[in-house]
């Protein structure tokens, strides 16, 4: 398409409608200002600050001194970083594998119209109402090997060294995260399932499809975008799991639950090494952006295609 061709019709239309559109555009631009302002102040400025800090040495209290690339070299050469990265991705992947099927099934289940399902849905929803710190403190007390649930209920197998054995602690962290976040994703799936037109199921019934067939051939494909939304939230959200792990294990035992966000905090605020902590913050931002972009692509390719063709 040539420029000459494309501009001609536009120029012709302009006299009639240009004024109001221009005005509208300026008005719209003004409307974005507050959001833009907050985005600048709370996202762009701190981000730039962190980037600058990553090239300095600062203990958080005294004067800030330039450090060049020292922080980057020392952090990138530190096996602690790769341990934290590995753990972050491991928790991300396992969390997704655990939470997605459970929330999907629970979502489908609670989307039904029966009364008892609504009652159960309320129960499933409860963990979401609790703050992460409270959840972590409660689990810590319940899992105390000597005075916890094991003694209270007389169930000796519960008296494990939950927070002392690296594998157990990691498993526990994944379990508690799932316990807390499955309700949220259940809610998303419940909404998604309720959006699926009833006529699809009626048609399937007439064709003789059973419940399982209906699930795999109607529910699941119809939930495609819901799955992508929920997965994006899970994956990107798992980069920021911090409060729960911080209170529950503090990154321990040893470094076995020290994920990237926690590593950043401990370096910055415990060890007073703001420079290296900023390096990790920058790495976190890069990973987060990359993941979000990737997932966007995954869902965005055939966004135009309707899933309800023929209805």
């Amino acid at each position: 398409m040539s420029n000459a061709v494309s501009t001609a019709p536009r120029a012709a239309v302009r006299p009639a409608s240009s004024k109001p559109t221009e005005q509208r555009k300026t008005a719209l631009a003004w409307l974005t200002l507050p959001a833009l302002f907050f985005f600048l102040v709370f996202a762009v400025v701190p981000l730039a600050g962190v980037l600058i800090l990553s090239f300095t040495s600062w203990d958080g209290i005294g004067a800030i001194g330039a450090a060049g690339l020292d922080n980057w070299f020392s952090v990138l050469a530190d096996p602690g970083l790769y341990n934290a990265l590995g753990l972050t991705f491991l928790i991300m992947a396992v969390s997704w594998l655990v939470q997605t099927p459970i929330s999907l099934l629970l979502g489908v289940f609670t989307a039904g119209s029966q009364r008892y399902r609504a009652a159960l849905a309320v129960l499933y929803f409860l963990p979401l109402l609790l703050s992460s710190a409270a959840v972590a403190i409660a689990f810590k007390a319940l899992l105390d090997p000597n005075f916890g649930l094991a003694t209270g209920l007389g169930l000796p197998f519960l008296a494990q060294d939950w927070l002392g054995v690296p594998q157990l602690a990691l498993g526990l962290v994944i379990f508690v995260i799932a316990w807390q976040f499955v309700p949220f994703h259940t809610l998303i799936y419940q909404g998604g399932v309720r959006q699926i037109p009833k006529s699809l199921y009626e048609a399937a019934q007439i064709d003789g499809a059973g419940t399982i067939k209906q699930f795999f051939h109607i529910t699941l494909p119809q939930l495609k975008y819901t799955i992508i939304t929920s997965s994006t939230l899970m994956v990107v959200g798992s980069l920021t799991y911090f409060d729960l792990i911080f209170v529950l294990t503090g990154g321990g035992p040893g470094n076995s639950t020290r994920i990237l966000a926690l590593d950043m905090y401990l370096r910055g605020f415990r060890a007073n090494l703001m420079g290296p902590a900023s390096v990790i913050a920058v790495i976190l931002v890069i990973i987060g952006l990359a993941l979000a972009l990737f997932l966007q692509r995954l869902g965005g390719k055939d966004k135009q295609g309707s899933q309800l063709e023929g209805l």
Partner: protein, 399 residues
Amino acid sequence: MWYLSGEPNQTTMQKAVDAFNSANSADKITVTYFQNDAYKTKIKTAIGANQAPTIIYGWGGGGLKTYAEANQVEDLTGWFDQNPDLKKKFFPSVFGAATVNGKIYALPNQYIAPIVLFYNKDLFQKAGVQPPQTWDDIMSLVKTFNDMGVAPFSLGGQSRWTSMMWLEYLLDRIGGPEVFNAIFAGKPNAWMDPAVIQTGTKIQELVSADGFIKGFSSITADSQADQALLFSGKAAMMLHGSWTYGSMKKAGQNFVQNGKLGFVPFPTVAGGKGDPKNGVGNPAAYMSISSKASDKEKESAKKFFKDGILTDTVIDAYINSGSVPIVNGIENKLNTSEDKEFLNFVYGMAKNAPNFQQSWDQALSPTAAEALLNNIDQLFLKSITPQQFAENMNATLGK
């Protein structure tokens, strides 16, 4: 002012502040209480953000040094010179951890808190054994109590500084105070001293022999579950700060009152250089004044330091809760207390110790302290060898 939550000190401090406030209506002090582990992070962040409270509570040593070097806390040297009576009130040794580059930056207060080896007398009687005097005694007691089905040692391992107390004593008994002094001074390869590696080896032997209660890494000190294990008879011994005497007295259902709590100095190690009279722990608590506070706030704080903190009422309250305040001339009070046995034990330790080592995590810089706690955790988990421990720590010298 910010202070630590937890009894009995919280009540004592609140009463002292209330008394001061009612006597000085123009210089009111307000206190907010925080949990120990949370406070340590919060105060650092607040100071860095210039949001510190007027009175900064702390443990002196490396942390105070960071604040002093960043000009965040007031130099109190001149003020102490103007108030010589106040300065003379304290044990002279307590000013060490309050002094940075020859200047005093904090008011010592509260009480001396050495680390003590506590034991449950009932369990020792049942087993027919005596409290340990040497490391070999410890290892044989471990076997005795394990055979009895009782955990030899209680430990709140998740807090990590609890595990550190073991290393502090062991290193002193094996290598003498010189080893840590070299580390503190940042001498090259100070952590690679054979005594450090021997200390780590002994600890791992103790862990392997099930010396500590099963699941010790899941127990936190803040919940005081470690103390509960000792007084409820689930563990026979516990190495802990002398402050736990007060909390066990309060929570232990007459365990302390009935004389069931025993205490001994840390055992010796065969062939070790350290004097068995050496102590480790916190020589005192410290309070500094934020240099960012207004002049009026600073004056109020100084007034409180002088008239409000170690009043006779407060001193009595500390003694009643089983602690030895860091002021001179309290022998009579200690002797008339119902806890005189323990108080005199601590007082003797404070007075007669040839060397009293400040807790490592407080003495070292925050950067080195965080690495230390992290590596101690791994050492107790046996995920690193004593050699690796020494190497990892050696890398933090001078940081």
